[in-house]
Symmetry: C3
Amino acid sequence: MSLVEALYPICRSITGDGVRKTLEIVSGWLPLDVTEVPSGSQAFDWTVPDEWNVRDAWIEDLEGRRIVDFRDSNLHVLNYSIPVDSEMDRSTLDEHLYSIPEHPDWIPYRTTYYAEQWGFCLPHRVRESLEDARYRVRIDADRSPGSLTYAECVVPGESEREILVYTHTCHPSLCNDNLSGIAVAAAAGARLLSGEKPRYTIRLVFGPGTIGSIVWLSRNREQLQRIVHGLAIGLLGDNAPFTWKRSRRGTAEVDRVAEYVLGRRSNDNRIIGFSPYGYDERQFGSPGIDLPVGRLTRSENGGYPEYHSSADNLDLVTEDRLAESVEVVMEILQILDKNRYFVNQEPFCEPQLGQRGLYRKTGGSEIPDRESAMLWLLNQCDGRHSLLDVAERADIAFDILAATAAELLDARLLADRSTQETE
Amino acid sequence: MSLVEALYPICRSITGDGVRKTLEIVSGWLPLDVTEVPSGSQAFDWTVPDEWNVRDAWIEDLEGRRIVDFRDSNLHVLNYSIPVDSEMDRSTLDEHLYSIPEHPDWIPYRTTYYAEQWGFCLPHRVRESLEDARYRVRIDADRSPGSLTYAECVVPGESEREILVYTHTCHPSLCNDNLSGIAVAAAAGARLLSGEKPRYTIRLVFGPGTIGSIVWLSRNREQLQRIVHGLAIGLLGDNAPFTWKRSRRGTAEVDRVAEYVLGRRSNDNRIIGFSPYGYDERQFGSPGIDLPVGRLTRSENGGYPEYHSSADNLDLVTEDRLAESVEVVMEILQILDKNRYFVNQEPFCEPQLGQRGLYRKTGGSEIPDRESAMLWLLNQCDGRHSLLDVAERADIAFDILAATAAELLDARLLADRSTQETE
Amino acid sequence: MSLVEALYPICRSITGDGVRKTLEIVSGWLPLDVTEVPSGSQAFDWTVPDEWNVRDAWIEDLEGRRIVDFRDSNLHVLNYSIPVDSEMDRSTLDEHLYSIPEHPDWIPYRTTYYAEQWGFCLPHRVRESLEDARYRVRIDADRSPGSLTYAECVVPGESEREILVYTHTCHPSLCNDNLSGIAVAAAAGARLLSGEKPRYTIRLVFGPGTIGSIVWLSRNREQLQRIVHGLAIGLLGDNAPFTWKRSRRGTAEVDRVAEYVLGRRSNDNRIIGFSPYGYDERQFGSPGIDLPVGRLTRSENGGYPEYHSSADNLDLVTEDRLAESVEVVMEILQILDKNRYFVNQEPFCEPQLGQRGLYRKTGGSEIPDRESAMLWLLNQCDGRHSLLDVAERADIAFDILAATAAELLDARLLADRSTQETE
């Protein structure tokens, strides 16, 4: 939550100094490699736009009273507005104003990344109160060659195969969307770096939405086959249950793991199908890329009243919910990491567990959980069923199965399929 | 409805002048190619039977009072009766009578195509009133060498691949079964001929039930691979919701299209599995033929009280329902025709729609239908998903998707898979 | 039931004279081939244990009053106890006692096959009444080299391909578990031997649980590919509905047949998934064996209060229920035997059934069952659908279909796929 609070005041966009300052603060939590991609660079069908920076902006009446002031909220400026400095009549001004009649006290968040426009976002109540004939408006901003900024943190694993975690950094003062995602990614990354070396390499990417993942994908095109699992994360601080949006493939291993984790935690958690709108999962799921990347959020994009408005503020996000979100991300990553394929080394009938001290000595009428886990593992581990497959079929917790598999591995009753294959 | 009314009085059977007169009247609506297949011709396991024509038929008491008269209703004669001219006692006569005790005022419709029998169908009330010791009976009919008659109307398409529409013409004065099917086929055919040239060639066949489709199939055996979709239609004027009976394959494209059309029109419409009885779909679905031909009706065969009786008359069928049936047939044909496979030409991430003027300029919190259709098409069009696949997955109306696909085709963001393959 | 009563008093275990005496009595019902496998023989990961025989056993107080006496119930001795002859204090004795507090009048059944222990099983009420300081205990038993005994009865069929029926013989005086299974197997075997020669060879195996099937499998490893279907049977005399436990494969033909038979008999019958505990199906379903062997019981193992206690006695099992179980076993075996693949010899459209005298002569509005069976068979018999497939799809009883298929075979409209392939 302290990270969310530190990042809240900064005016971010898809490029600019606000993003750089954000990444600098995040780098206090975990080491980041920052990449700057010059304006004009080609990325598939897209071109990196000019960089946008805004210094000040206001609407004044002719007596110089400020009606709308960027210093009060960076949402007031239509994001990526071109500069303006002019006096105009009310109806002309009104064509450049955005408000939400249903929530007259909230400032909406609107953008104009790829069109040369300017505008102001303001509470509908303020807009309705504009009664003068003429107003003065000023947006002191640049759209000029610069660069697009993204950052990566790599947690090295035993294998070069990677799990990708992507979160978007382009939204200004909106807490749930997406300071929550940035904070959860930072906290998970810090825990991964201080923990045991994972099997998979884990790559966390902090970049702007849409153009950020497009630029990242175009610059890493040759290495995409390394990515075996992926999660786009965001919107992880509000009070909704968790939502897993399936990857385009729908039944990728990451989908099954996420559904397993969410399903065991609460029946309120939701699984939804892939759709080509939302966050960066839509780029990872484009037909030419088609990586197994799903999305973890609490509310969905557009799924809560405060979405894309000034009401998505520090009150909407709590420390507890952020911490729980970190747990869920970690659990998904850990199960992906531990979800191996084993092969029973004594596959003809059951091995004699008692002889190996793995079994209770007096036959009775009930079977303990650990023995049940052993029997299921020995029965199902033919190289075609993963630990998760066994966990789901046997309805035994993944952790118990993983621990029991380690015992059977020690007893040489199981072998790791991948190890066995390379022997 | 005027066509139904014109055809109602005619005595039809699987062969004979009634069928010829029927096809002559239909040819006032759309051009027909009439084929005559001589009696004795072999058709797979069957032989075309002798032609049947009946001139007059009656039962009289010995005073010459007519009890049953063919001129009142052609249903009175057991269809395909051999001639008879005789006086007999009541109990002998009764062995040749057919009636429906549950509906004592209705004349049943019965046939004896392949057995040398004669008989009369009559209201049960009349049968019960026969009290004399002896009666005179006369059926002035021929079963003699002639031919079996069927007719075709071909709507030429861009491709030689065909959609087949078959409707049975063999029933005498029964309106729903199947003057309704004849009328709907004729109206649909007329509309197809006056409309834009379709992609597929569409072939409408008007032939007798069972022996007609068997004869047609045996004479067209070398060309059957042209048929990519097919519908047997009939029973389309009564007040039941629509019923789609799946092709033998069960998941053919025509099944999916028909289920889509019926499902979106009304929840009352029904989808039923294939079964080897009913109308000509049973021949198209025999194991050696196995064409993707399903069946569209309202009530099923045997599925309404008036079925195969004199109560299946002009009161059972209405203009409105016939018109709605034409709409449904046309909609199925049109979706089959438009259901193409496209390939996204910018498959790496999303293309920049804004740059091409295809996207609204200011980012907000809701997504318009047309943009949603674009995103779904760009995401799913990898050559493996048809427009219908996308419509079902995205829950967007097929028409909107088809129109949007045309826009994306113009913008060169989509290409037609079949065109692309031949380039 | 008379067989159950004859076998009830005998003290059985996984080896020993009790098993031999049991098989001798069973051989009065059907001829058995008895196999003796010497102690120390290797069977996959297992070794045949020393043979166990017990002559007498008791707990006495120091005045010589017998508190617990093997002659009252052979359950009193912990099965496979090593000998003991000693005086000891009450608390030491208590470590060797087994009772069921929830059912204070029942003697539990417990075993120690693979650990060198001794013990007594007794009613909890008796255990609680032990108040003396010291007791004398005696178990006059041997665990010494001998052999493990199993028996087979083979019902020869036209083919060398086999259906395996396995039932466990190792439990002492417990009626449902598993004198019921032994009796049902014996009665079914006797009926099969006196009936028509089946298509498949049917092999009934009477052997101890776990070690018995392991030994049998290890000694028949080269012939296992003969086994095309299998049932482990047991617990068939209690008043529960039937339970089919699916084979490891889950969708084997025997699973489908058993589910069909149980489903048509009662909605109370249950189908459960495979799990690696229970009876000998767990060995047949080990990953290296993986035979299509499911399990038929009434209650499941552990699924009734009297399970593994002295209350599983002659009162729990009735003649009627045993007889019904024999019927179910026979029905499963018969459908497996009759479930063939036929091929329509006139596959192009329907054959003309009327011409062949297979069809009623006057067309009406309803279709008789036998004709419906003919049409379904002619439509579905393309060599890819078995009789059971047709029975399930058409919802026509298997028996009616099998009889109708025989008619069509006579009329040369169907051919047996296997016969046709070899022609």
